[in-house]
């Protein structure tokens, strides 16, 4: 987590201490080098137990029952893949018209991979403006092809669409609030989940219900109750605060295809402030991990920096939400798996989560379908760990690169100035957009990479030299 150096030491130090305390004893005892071998094979070698689904008992006369808790992109994608795979699925969502506080940006690969209809996308952002602490403004997006864009969606529209697809595939969508789950009594026993089912008429707290399922997919977001019930552990989280502002038509024209990112200590010590266009208004917001108490101050500073462009606007909504910074220490326990924000799959640096939520939901569901042979066998933890393995392997480079970028470029105002300066470079723009839109970290031409490295170091050195001079100066 990058922030001003003094705060980083305390924040990272505290979290490092508390975090490693959770797992250190076990790793020392077992000497597990988890990164080297797929965990299931490693465990087999060490314990002599084959945890393959082939040995799992067949379910007699019924299909595998899975409850998906949470109906956002992760839950919707999971429920659809499960239902399509022949598993009896129930999707529990507490607020079917939930208008989530979210940037709402989805990459191109999501549209393709999930077959999203293009009318779901309110706007296509093809230009982004990065604005440094000293207001150096750089436009990125010159390298985008005519068919490339960042899609801006309304979350309520996207979530409802994915849930609708799940229902069409055969999942039963229940409007209810998940309360808790009971662990199974025996090794193959069912999980009993308790939830409040709300009547379609609305109002009241709903009826208490229980259901027995064989597996649970926790897709209930940053404050996941499923995570709590399996003792998944805590994570560091950022607070994202956003105001939706309706601005005059003339000003809206500027934001027709453009999103802005403001960086600076005034706007956020470890994140960025943004102005993202939505269907007929803009969302102005900022976030922070380390200085949550000052979020209003940062929001005021963001509004100040965008002042000229959002003048005359009226705030129509204020919203805030926690955003996880890293995965929870435990993402799978028994036949319960976490996906999406509940698992903590939000990237650093850009804070992107929708695509990874949907993808992890889909991967988890596919692992369940495969492990249960289309719903005919019981699954076990090993099948769920296959999903973790696949997800980690596929997206780890993306997450790591964004983490490095955050550590290097969100460190201080000087680093942010260098960051914006680097964004002016066409090669950088191309690499950035390619990796964002297609979620593949592809090393480019080595000569260009070398030039990029030299330029980056040069920018950082110059910006830091200026900063040292700035520290000597008192205005």
């Amino acid at each position: 987590m990058a922030s001003l150096s003094s705060t980083t030491s305390t924040a990272a130090g505290d979290s490092l201490r508390s975090f490693s305390g959770l797992r250190r004893e076990t790793s020392i005892l077992r000497g597990v080098a988890a990164a080297d071998a797929p965990a299931s094979q490693l465990r087999r070698r060490q314990l002599g137990v084959v945890r393959a689904s082939r040995t799992s008992p067949r379910l007699n006369g019924r299909k595998l029952r899975v409850a998906v808790v949470g109906g956002g992109p992760a839950g919707g994608a999971a429920a659809e893949a499960l239902a399509k795979g022949g598993v009896e699925t129930m999707l529990i969502e507490r607020k079917l018209d939930n208008c989530k506080p979210c940037g709402g940006a989805i990459p191109l690969c999501m549209v393709e991979e999930f077959g999203l209809p293009l009318d779901l996308i309110d706007r296509r952002v093809t230009k982004m403006k990065m604005i440094s602490p000293s207001n150096v403004a750089v436009d990125i997006g010159r390298t985008l092809g005519p068919h490339e864009y960042i899609g801006m969606v309304r979350r309520e529209v996207l979530d409802a669409y994915l849930r609708g697809r799940a229902a069409e595939a055969g999942a039963s969508v229940i409007n209810g609030l998940f309360l808790r789950l009971e662990q199974p009594e025996g090794p193959g026993g069912p999980y009993r989940i308790h939830y409040n089912e709300f009547s379609p008429a609305g109002g009241g707290t709903g009826e208490r219900r229980t259901a027995e399922v064989d597996a649970v997919v926790g897709a209930d977001g940053a404050n996941s109750r499923v995570a709590k019930s399996i003792g998944a552990g805590e994570y560091e989280y950022a607070i994202a605060f956003q105001e939706r502002v309706r601005i005059p038509e003339t000003k809206m024209e500027y934001y027709k295809e453009r999103a802005e990112m403001y960086v600076g200590d005034d706007v956020s010590p470890d994140f960025y402030g943004w102005v993202f266009p939505k269907c007929d208004h803009v969302a102005v917001g900022t976030g922070t991990v380390t200085h949550k108490a000052d979020i209003k101050k940062f929001q005021a500073a963001t509004r100040l920096r965008a002042k000229d462009k959002i003048e005359g606007g009226t705030i129509i909504r204020v919203e805030a939400h926690p955003i996880p910074e890293h995965p929870r220490p435990r993402r799978v326990l028994g036949r319960v798996a976490l996906v999406g924000d509940a698992a903590g799959y939000v990237t650093k640096c850009s804070g992107e989560g929708i695509y990874f939520a949907a993808k992890s939901g889909q991967m988890c569901a596919e692992a369940i379908v495969e492990g249960s042979e289309n719903g005919s066998r019981m699954i076990d933890e090993g099948d769920l760990r296959k999903y973790l393995e696949k997800f980690d392997k596929m997206y780890w480079p993306t997450y790591k690169v964004l983490d490095v970028l955050q550590k290097v470029f969100y460190r201080s105002n000087a680093a942010r100035e260098a960051f914006v300066e680097m964004c002016a470079d066409e090669y950088v723009q191309k690499m950035t957009f390619d990796s964002y839109l297609y979620k593949k970290v592809v090393p480019g031409n080595p000569l260009d990479d070398l030039k990029l490295a030299v330029n980056t170091i040069g920018s950082l050195v110059r910006a830091n030299a200026l900063r040292r001079e700035m520290d000597k100066l008192t205005l």
């Binding site: 000293s134 207001n135 700035m470």
Partner: protein
């Protein structure tokens, strides 16, 4: 870096200090008029920046608004902006509080969003140190007084217009001199001590592996540890590089015996 101070252009000190007092005074008086401070929307109203004259342009908001003008400050170079805040809450009531923004950054050599290199001529050559100083002041000013980013006057300055040799001359060389000096002193005394303890002369030390290792450690130490805090900084950096990886691998270090018992 005393070289830097000699070559910097003299800032306008009197106007700056006079100005820094004025906005705060007016802010305080205006606060007294509107003691009620409610959660507010910042609906800024920009004032036009002319030389020494403040005029205000009103923005259209859905609430009725009052206009207030602040008297123009004495300084020719900086201007004062005033802002209005109004509440757009569900109750529809509006609360006003006047707040005076700090002055915008202005410099006669800052033209069109970048430094006009023609104004930085000294003896017929570009005064790169002057450009560096001017940019340092600009960044410091904006750090203390953040400003709205403007589409009409976009900032397009890029530090790479200042040639690399100027950066080397001003920033790298003094520090290199310092570090080389430290390395020389450490080297001399280490060579002396090793010689006095073991009788191995300087030339023979260079042929010895242990001595060469000591030399390597000494050079690395001088390069990496420049201040006392650097030792902690380096340790922290090392932890940071692997922290994220550990967070991701946490779920794989699950104790198998726990879940088997269930």
């Amino acid at each position: 870096m005393s070289m830097a101070l000699f070559s910097s252009s003299p800032p306008p000190p009197t106007t700056l200090s006079a100005l820094s007092l004025k906005p705060r005074l007016s802010f305080r008086t205006q606060l007294a008029l509107f003691p009620r401070k409610a959660p507010s929307l910042l609906l800024p109203r920009s004032t036009d920046n002319g030389a020494g004259v403040v005029s205000s342009t009103a923005t259209v908001t859905e609430e009725e608004e009052k206009k207030e003008e602040t008297p123009p400050p004495a300084a020719e170079e900086k201007d004062v902006e005033s802002k209005q805040q109004s509440v757009l809450g569900s109750n529809g009531a509006a609360a006003r509080a006047e707040e005076v923004l700090p002055p915008k950054f202005k410099d006669p050599r800052w033209v069109g969003g970048t430094w006009d290199l023609k104004r930085f001529q000294k003896d017929g050559k570009s005064d790169w140190d002057g450009v560096v100083d001017a940019e340092v002041r600009r960044r410091k000013w904006l750090q203390e007084n953040p400003e709205a980013s403007s589409n009409d006057e976009p900032v397009i300055f890029d530090t790479s217009i200042i040639p690399w040799w100027s950066w080397v001359k001003r920033f790298h060389l003094p520090e290199a001199e310092l570090l080389n000096g430290r390395a020389a002193m450490i080297g001399f005394f280490m060579a002396y001590f090793v010689d006095s303890l073991t009788g191995v002369g300087l030339v023979d030390q260079m042929g010895n592996f242990f001595c060469k290792t000591l030399l390597f450690i000494a050079v690395a130490g001088v390069l990496l540890i420049r201040k006392n805090e650097d030792i902690d900084t380096l340790k922290r950096l090392l932890d940071e590089t692997t922290f994220y990886d550990k967070q991701w691998q946490a779920t794989w270090q699950e104790d198998k015996s726990d879940s088997e018992a269930k």
